[in-house]
């Protein structure tokens, strides 16, 4: 049995932060993921291969590399940090916002891929039909493409959320491992595992992690069945 009573405030905060970071990263990425997937599925343009490569790069890069690149980009001397964040007085590095950005970048290709798979199954004839029936481009996107790629959107969001719950490499570099501030479940497990006598707590948090992942998968299955029933 997992000693629930053994969890301290920083453990509970790690659990809440994990969910908060993964959820925020997923919700923030959703419109961009949909737009990129739409662009890649339904449009022919120069540089499509390059965009495809950039979107998918985080899948093959070690998360630590992504974290380091983000640190260089968002840090005080980084290109975005110096020109955009500092003048606006926004502090990102070593805050939970950095964890969200790291999670979003790492999970983004998974989301785009799932939505694309959903979009590619849409019969082009349906899109043509909607246009000849008087629908403008945006109208077709909202009334035909969006509902028909909903399965892909849900699968992509679930996948990204689940991936976000487990994000470690990029997060630790760009957000650090500050209990109560940027420490998520994987970072807490890492800390317990590397401290003497922390095995039990590490195991307990592993249990929480497994439970959360299980809930996510069950939710995905449930929503899939509901959609099947609705036809």
């Amino acid at each position: 049995m997992i000693p629930m009573s053994g969890f301290g405030p920083s453990d509970y905060s790690a659990m809440a932060l994990s969910v908060k970071v993964a959820l925020t990263a997923t919700l923030l990425s959703l419109p961009f993921g949909f737009a990129v997937a739409y662009l890649m599925t339904f449009n022919k343009f120069r540089g499509k291969i390059v965009l495809d490569g950039i979107v998918n790069l985080p899948l093959t890069l070690p998360p630590v590399v992504i974290g380091y690149l983000l640190l260089l980009l968002l840090g005080r001397n980084g290109w975005i940090g110096r020109t955009l964040l500092q003048p606006l007085g926004i502090e990102v590095i070593f805050t939970w916002k950095a964890a969200v950005i790291a999670t979003a970048v790492v999970g983004f290709p998974l989301m785009v891929r799932s939505i694309r798979i959903g979009m590619e199954t849409i019969d082009r004839g349906l899109i043509q039909a909607s246009r000849t029936l008087g629908a403008g481009r945006l109208d077709t996107v909202t009334t035909v493409i969006l509902p028909l790629s909903l399965r892909g959107i849900i699968a992509g969001s679930v996948l990204m959320f689940a991936r976000g719950l487990g994000e470690f490499g990029a997060t630790i570099i760009v957000a650090g491992n500050i209990p109560g501030v940027t420490q998520t479940i994987p970072l807490a497990i890492y800390e317990y595992a590397s401290s003497p006598g922390g095995d039990v707590m590490a195991m307990a948090l592993c249990g929480i992690s497994i439970t959360l992942s299980g809930i996510v998968l069950i939710f995905h299955e449930w929503i899939g069945r509901r959609m099947d029933r609705a036809g």
Binding site: D123, G125, L126, Q128, T132, L133, G134, A135, D139, G231
Partner: protein, 351 residues
């Protein structure tokens, strides 16, 4: 409706080069599969862009590459019924039907949903989902959906392929009567000569990416005689009179025809191949064939080394195909009267 297209389009090795002007409300586009019919109408609807050219409908330019005019698909108001219906699977039948209607500006809404629903007899399907419809029902809903968008022109791209023969005629009937009732001009695309002749008054023929001609349905049938296995296909619209000795008796103009097997449907279209009719100079006394028609020869024309003979029986016409030697032996010439002999089993029912 007056349509002018002068367009060029290249797709890899395929080159579409269409240059025509046509007027009429029931226009056919006829040609073999892969000849470019669908591409041509796709360009007209705005689904594909031509490389260059001009498209005018009723004097309005909807595409002109030189003037940089490219009217967007929704603004063209050209409806389409596709070969594979393309109904929205996530919407009910009712919402499919109203999809175009809701997007049509109020001043253009001439066709009312309730009138069309009763004309197409689809009222009982409204709450169903598309997945639960049969092939014929789907096509009727697709026709209704396109008509309810109140287009100025309706394109029907092989809407009957994939349906069985019994259904085809039913759908043809719905299509024709709905377009006539609501006065929507249409372009009917098909590789079936029979469908094209039933549905249209004027036909554009398309071959290998080129519009090769413009003709009536009758001219189309004659031009296709030498390629068609049945020669000329006579289409006879017959009214059932009675059933006798296992045969159905039909009225054809002022004559009667015995057909086996027939049916008791009040009105039926039958196909009769020009090669199935025998000509006889004198009245044959005893003969197994059940139909003997005394007709006048009104036209003689060449068809692939044989002769096509047009016979007029009262107000009706029949085309018969015979070899030149037979015509010589019978002394066939315009104006003479002759017997046409047709077996009761020579007819093929379309419905």
């Amino acid at each position: 409706m007056k349509l002018r297209m002068e367009i060029q389009k290249r797709f890899g090795a395929f080159h579409l080069d269409a240059n025509f002007e046509i007027e009429g409300d029931r226009i056919g586009i006829f040609g073999p599969s892969g000849s470019g019919k669908s591409t041509l109408v796709g360009i007209l609807a705005g689904l594909h862009s031509p490389d260059e050219g001009v498209i005018d409908i009723d004097g309005t330019t909807i595409f002109d590459s030189r003037e940089d005019i490219h009217v967007a698909v929704p603004e063209r108001r050209i409806g389409m019924v596709f070969q594979h219906h393309h109904l929205f699977p996530h919407l009910s039948v009712k919402r499919n039907l109203l999809y175009g209607y809701r997007r049509c500006p109020a001043e253009n809404r001439r066709i009312k949903p309730e009138n069309l629903i009763s004309a197409l007899e689809i009222g009982h399907l409204l709450d169903r989902r598309v997945a639960h419809l049969s092939g014929g029902e789907r096509q009727r809903i697709a026709i209704g959906r396109a008509l309810l968008s109140n287009p100025r022109l309706l394109i029907m791209d092989e809407p009957l392929s994939g349906l069985d023969d019994n259904l085809k005629l039913k759908i043809i009937h719905s299509l024709k009567s709905a377009c006539d009732t609501f006065r929507i001009p249409y372009l009917f695309i098909s590789h079936s000569q029979i469908e094209t002749r039933i549905m249209t008054d004027r036909v554009l023929t398309v071959e290998k990416g080129r519009v090769t001609g413009q003709m009536t349905g009758e001219e189309l049938a004659r031009s296709r005689m030498k390629d068609h296995i049945a020669g000329y296909v006579n289409l006879l619209k017959l009214r059932h009179v009675r059933t006798i000795h296992g045969m159905s008796v039909y009225r054809w103009g002022d004559r009667q025809l015995y057909i086996s097997p027939g049916d008791d449907h009040p009105e039926t279209i039958f196909e009769l191949s020009s090669a199935e009719i025998i000509l006889c100079k004198r009245h044959p006394d005893a003969i197994s064939a059940r139909n003997l028609l005394y007709c006048r020869v009104t036209d003689i024309f060449e068809t692939g080394g044989r002769l096509g003979i047009e016979l007029t029986c009262g107000k009706e016409r029949l085309i018969v195909e015979i070899v030149r030697k037979a015509a010589e032996d019978l002394g066939i010439r315009k104006g003479i009267k002759i017997y046409a002999v047709i077996k009761a089993t020579a007819f093929r029912r379309l419905r």
